[in-house]
């Protein structure tokens, strides 16, 4: 997503820099994330895709809810992350979760320990899902191969 499109789609131009977003941010208290600063930079047309603070947002949506001007702050952060990720500016550990999802269809695949817990509490060891259905899983993997996120992963392999 281009910055100009983001400005329009998320109403970033309406920001008056009041700072309610930063004041409401649970992550900003514990990290360098200053939401008002990110919105200011975006509004000024700056490229913030290399800004690490983008990834400290827990996407709790409190800033977006409280913004008196109706700026879609959280949605904007999420979409700018798309550009950051494409440019390779992202926590590499996320690739593990993405790889797992694209390979197995589960974000968190089952471990032998959890298989034991499942059986101990009377659940079938294999959950009823696509990950444990060979035919469905193959179809899912075919779908995934047509997606941009798969290309992103292939480039990083």
């Amino acid at each position: 997503m281009k910055v100009a499109d983001a400005l329009k789609e998320f109403d970033l131009a309406k920001c008056v820099q009041c700072g309610k977003c930063t004041a409401s941010c649970p992550s900003g208290r514990e990290s360098n994330l200053r939401t008002r600063r990110l919105v200011f930079l975006l509004k000024s047309g700056a490229d913030i895709t290399a800004d690490k603070d983008l990834w400290a947002c827990t996407t709790c949506y409190t800033c977006q809810e409280r913004c008196p001007k109706g700026v879609k702050v959280t949605d904007a952060i999420i979409r700018i992350r798309n550009s950051a990720a494409r440019a390779g500016n992202r926590p590499s550990i996320h690739l593990t979760a993405i790889r797992s999802l694209l390979d197995s269809s589960d974000g968190f695949p089952i471990t032998p320990e959890i298989a034991k817990v499942r059986s101990m509490i009377g659940l079938p060891i294999d959950p009823w899902d696509v990950a444990h259905d060979t035919e469905q899983k193959e179809k899912f993997r075919r779908l995934v191969r047509s997606l941009a996120i798969n290309d992103m992963l292939e480039e990083s392999r």
């Binding site: 827990t58 996407t59 409190t62 809810e65 949605d75 993405i98 999802l101 696509v130």
Partner: protein, 294 residues
């Protein structure tokens, strides 16, 4: 209405006790369910942050799978709800996105028409409050610290909910014969969302620590959540903090299961990281009291 349970990855693969409790509670409530095979929702924090369109397509595959069985989806996780509800609304409002999604889905013989609704289980339970109350066999009388989490309530443009002072969980907890306790910043995030749980452990745990300090100060017997991902953070995360808080964590369907008189080991709540022993003892005593009375 027929429902398809969307259990999500964490309830199946990390906290199967939530899957087990959910199936027992839904059965007891007589909810009409069909079995549908799903994939990861996909996780809104990471997947939507990496590629919005890929996130949409994978979510639409799950929505389409429920549509094939003419069922509404019922989620027991705020993350799954956040993804499926947001994707559903986005697709219905954006014909271009719907066209893109269906082009991808058609290659595997599926299609999305937007006919299945996405329900959070809390709303389904709230709509059957009298039924729920009637099935309570054991009034546990616990002091409960309610953790709403983020994506059940927000963004409110999608949920239409009162995000600053919600009362639905307080109402349900009361119907179960428990008491909700107030604490500062009760609606704040657990710190796990947005890819921060895996991406920045230190920040994630600092957010949790603050939350736990307030919860501990409330004198609650347990924390109540409506999301396996919050549950993971509150239960496993608690064990990774320097400070020992030792407040047991229950998913709402586990508290309901105990209130329906189902034993803790049948529900699987004994498999949590933070010991649920005291809660289980209380439930057992309450069950025995009923037998003595009878």
């Amino acid at each position: 209405m027929t429902y398809a349970l969307f259990p999500g990855c964490i309830a199946r693969n990390m906290y199967p006790s939530i899957e087990k409790s959910t199936s027992l509670v839904f059965k007891e409530l007589g909810l009409e369910m069909v079995d549908v095979k799903f994939t990861c929702c996909p996780a809104p924090g990471v997947i939507r942050s990496y590629d919005f369109d890929s996130w949409l397509v994978i979510a639409a595959r799950n929505l389409a799978a429920a549509e094939e069985r003419q069922a509404d989806l019922i989620t027991i996780c705020n993350g799954c709800f956040g993804t499926l509800e947001a994707a559903h609304r986005h697709l219905r409002k954006n014909p271009e996105a719907m066209g893109m999604v269906n082009e991808k889905l058609s290659a595997i013989g599926m299609s999305y028409r937007g006919r299945s609704e996405v329900k959070h289980f809390v709303d389904v339970l709230d709509g059957r409050l009298e039924d729920l109350r009637g099935k309570v066999k054991v009034e546990l009388g616990l002091k409960v610290a309610i953790h709403y989490g983020c994506h059940y309530l927000k963004p409110s443009c999608e949920s239409g909910r009162n995000v600053e002072s919600p009362v639905v969980l307080e109402r349900i907890v009361q119907a179960l014969g428990c008491e909700s306790v107030d604490f500062p910043e009760r609606l704040s995030c657990c710190g796990a969302g947005g890819g921060v749980w895996s991406g920045d452990e230190s920040v994630s745990l600092k957010i949790l620590d603050r939350k736990m300090r307030f919860i501990k100060g409330s004198g609650a017997d347990c924390i109540l959540d409506i999301c396996p991902f919050c549950h993971l953070q509150l239960d496993q995360g608690q064990k990774r903090l320097k400070e020992r808080y030792d407040v047991p964590v229950l998913h709402l369907n586990q508290l309901i299961g105990l209130s329906f008189g189902i034993k803790d080991k049948v529900l699987g709540v004994h498999t949590h990281m933070v010991a649920t022993r005291d809660i289980a003892k209380k439930a057992k005593r309450a069950r025995l009291d009923i037998k003595v009375d009878a």
